[in-house]
Every structure is written in C-alpha cells, then in structure tokens.
Symmetry: C2
Subunit: 159 residues, 2 copies
Amino acid sequence: MKTRSTRKKITKNKKNNKIIRVLAQGTFDLLHAGHVHYLREAKSHGNHLTVIVARDDSVKRVKNHPALFSERSRVHMVRALKHVDRAVLGGKGNRLDKVLEIHPDVIVLGYDQAVSVRKLANDLASRGLVCKIVRARAFSPHVYKSSKLKKVIHQKMST
Amino acid sequence: MKTRSTRKKITKNKKNNKIIRVLAQGTFDLLHAGHVHYLREAKSHGNHLTVIVARDDSVKRVKNHPALFSERSRVHMVRALKHVDRAVLGGKGNRLDKVLEIHPDVIVLGYDQAVSVRKLANDLASRGLVCKIVRARAFSPHVYKSSKLKKVIHQKMST
C-alpha cells in the first residue's frame, strides 16, 4: 500500500516530469484481467513501467509445471498492453541481477508473489539499490488467479 | 490489401489530422500474438481503432462451442491492448447494426473470417454505409490460430 507521504512524493515527481521507474514482474501465462489490474496499479506508482517476464526454465522450477505459452509469446503479449512501457525476460543467473540492471524507483509485487518485502529490500540494499517496495492489491482472486483459471479452462475444454 | 492510392489517401488524411475510423472484430478468446498482429495491422489503416468483440451467444452459435472467457472478460482484455482505442460488445440483433452505429471509414477483416468482402460491402452500401473493406494478412497461422492453440493448451494441461 502507498502511504500518504509516498503518494505526495509521487504526485510531486510526476508534476515535475521526473521519470519514476516502476518495476513489476510475473509469469503472465494465459493473460487475464487480474494481470491487467496488477500492471495498471503498478504504473500508478510512477510514469514508466518495466515488466520482467519469467523465463520458461524458472516457471518450470518454481511452479513445477511448464508454462502454457512460451516465454517469447508471453513477453510479446505483455509488451502489447497499454500500461507497459517495456517488457523483458528475466535474467538467467541471479534473479536480482535484472532488477539491479533496470534500477527501479519502485517495485510493485503481485498480491500473491511469495516474496518478503523486507527480505527483498535488504537483499537489494546490500547490492546498492535502495528503492520503495509495495505490494499490489488482489483483484477478484477467486476468479482471476492463473492456477484457478487454468482449472476452469481445462474443465471447459474437456466437455 | 491496401492499394497504392488507398495508402496515399490514408497518409494524407493522417497528416491532416483527420480522424480515420477503423473497425476490427473477432472473438478474442485466449488472447494471443495473432490477435495483437491483427489489431496492429488494423490500426495502421487509420488512427482510431474500434473493436467489436463477439457476444457469448454468437460465439456459441457460430463456433458450436462456448468461449473459454466470458464476453465481459474478453472485451476488457481487448480494451487493455495498446492499439485499441475502443472495444465494444457486438449487437444483439442484426450483426450489421453495430457496424452502422460505429460508422467506420475502413473495416479490416481477420485473415480467416468467413465473410465475403464483396457481400459485406454490398450489404452495408444497401443500408447507407460506403466504406473501404480490407482483409488482414495471416500471422504464423500454423501456431497463432485460436482453435489450434486451444488444442495444444488442452494437451499440455492434460499431461
């Protein structure tokens, strides 16, 4: 959540035409309204949104199953969304390398991303990046959660 | 395809800041790169793109199976795409009513839409709308065709 002082600072920086780089990240397999909501909220924290799209290898490792769409296709689709200024694939090595390369002012985590805000802030600070980290709000997670949607779609396809 | 004279006219109108309304239409279930390619090409024919998204009822009637995503969700996703200025659901009555309401300068048909350009032009002209009708080029249809993609996804989900 944004505090009142953060909101004031962002509004002031926006008025001064200062570029405020925001970073969002995710798998973005089977693009849905929850993703759009997350990216719109992320963009509202600044005025330039970069999105890191997870590579096929890391999706398989983290989620224990392959993505339905290839990394090339997923990054292409995220790039086509209105709120997105830039979409790139995640790094192949340490997951923080790409974040440091982008050097965001604000990182917006997805509501269900299993990352501790405090730990991420500490890890980044120890590598020289001090930035604001906020967590996005959930958007109808009973419907728009990729794993749930996939189950519903699989059922529909099987009938 | 655009002829040389059409291209010249569009470039001239764009330079004169004249609004050239383009219309595209489709189901847009399970959004993929082929859809983005179609809408980008459609937008290149003018400078304001409206997209008609097929209603659930008509998807069921035309394709003999229900859409995976609801009409509300599909129109929401199309609206979130960069090239799209406006996305609306199709009409409930005669399929031409919505087209006449939008009154486009150019209609861009999908490469695989089973509509005859000549018949559509005649039908619209008989109701007072004379506009250019072009057909979009296919974009890797061996991969990015909704029905094929759905089969691949279903297979992946079943393993």
